[in-house]
Point group: C2
Chain length 256, copies 2
């Protein structure tokens, strides 16, 4: 049973079999469901959690999937059935047409280890049932690292697409873009609706990561300009080691 | 018939059926083949072209696949069978184990429109036979744009992997990397052997592109810090338009 602010999304989800039935109203869903999954942009998640905390529903599990966990935890204070979670999955596409039964397979899906029982065990079981790997990550730790591991790649992809966009009037520019540019600008197609709230909440941490990457790029530009091949070779080796460790630790994420 | 400086690569190519037979020596291949494909790092391509230009072989088609076309054109001066080409395809993997019969399917493969006949037509026919789209792009135009469309994404991916590598001792860092980080750092696994020569030849142009991206990132960091949501929203929209135009113009490159 589901509800969405946009009736077209609800109709699409019903049509694809992602829902058995649409709730008549948001209140119907909140009242009738034993487990509540909040899959909304961050500000809407916070607003809904605050209203649920004020008048807790009968549900024995309420969980969210937003990209920051500390603000969510705070908004849900007083809601014992709540478990903050974050599936480290998804793509630049959104809406029912982008639904994919294999979306979570072998992906990490984090959950708050300090959440109360029995909600926590129910969340872990639900996560495992999607094919994902439930991984306990505390909210503070999650938020400290996610600016680097998720928010920075988004900003970098967007920046690269913006740079490319300035040359696309050249007839040959698009022709000279290969699979490399395609994978580097894939995230740039992501929905602003999702990122608006993340940047509003986490702008300082993301900005710090973005500046740190800009600094690394400036160092590389200097090495390229002065032809320091040995520096660049060591730099490439460092990057290759990181990628190897990443593939080893998160095998579900290997490039497809 | 093929030749490689590393006998293991030759053996692997024979085993996978990519070659019918290995040449006894490089000279055998250069003497016996009617069409010569030079698939080497850029410096080796330039050296071989210079020696072929000094003593032209009987082959009616000699073509290369290197990532810069002006230096190649210069090295091949006096070799009428030569056509500079560049398949806008490939991945971070290399060697016979990474061979893929579908590698060129629907990809752009550029060729020098000023090359002499009949070599030029032979190159176009060979490109089409791989399933790629032959696209004429003059060397100067190619080299002006490729720093942005191919060399910049490589540097950015490497930079991101270097940044990530500094945090991978944190047990949670790899777990919090999803498919976004995976596609953004895929290129960082590329072979230094291939990039060494490209950076040596094109370092100035690449550095300029890298600085330009670092500048765009600094602007974004400022907008994030000062919470300028409208600026960021326009910036996202600009990027999304670029990605849409890219997918439209290079349909073979859509993310897989």
């Amino acid at each position: 049973m589901g509800w969405d602010a946009d009736p077209a999304n609800l109709a699409g989800a019903l049509e694809r079999g992602a829902l058995d039935r649409a709730g008549g109203s948001l209140d119907d869903v909140l009242t009738d469901c034993a487990s509540l999954a909040l899959a909304l942009p961050l500000p809407a998640t916070l607003a809904l959690l605050r209203s649920l905390a004020a008048r807790p529903p009968a549900a024995t599990l309420v969980f969210d999937v937003a990209s920051l966990k500390l603000p969510v935890l705070e908004a849900a204070a007083g809601l014992p059935a709540f478990v903050g979670t974050h599936p480290i999955a998804g793509s630049e596409r959104s809406g029912p047409a982008a639904a994919d039964a294999a979306l979570f397979r072998d992906r990490v899906w984090t959950y708050e280890p300090a959440a109360a029982e029995p909600a926590r065990s129910a969340a872990v079981a639900l996560i495992a049932a999607t094919g994902a790997r439930p991984v306990p990550v505390a909210a503070a730790e999650h938020d400290r690292l996610i600016a680097l591991t998720s928010h920075l790649p988004q900003v970098v992809s967007t920046a690269l697409a913006v740079r490319l966009g300035r040359e696309l009037d050249e007839p040959e520019a698009a022709a000279l873009c290969g699979p490399g540019m395609a994978s580097m600008t894939r995230l740039a197609g992501s929905s602003w609706l999702m990122w608006d709230g993340i940047f509003a909440q986490n702008g300082q941490a993301v900005a710090q990561e973005v500046r740190s990457l800009a600094h690394i790029l400036s160092e590389a530009a200097e090495a390229l300009e002065s032809g320091r091949a040995e520096w660049l070779e060591r730099w490439f080796a460092q990057a290759a080691r990181a990628v190897a460790r990443l593939n080893q630790n998160a095998p579900g994420n290997e490039p497809r």
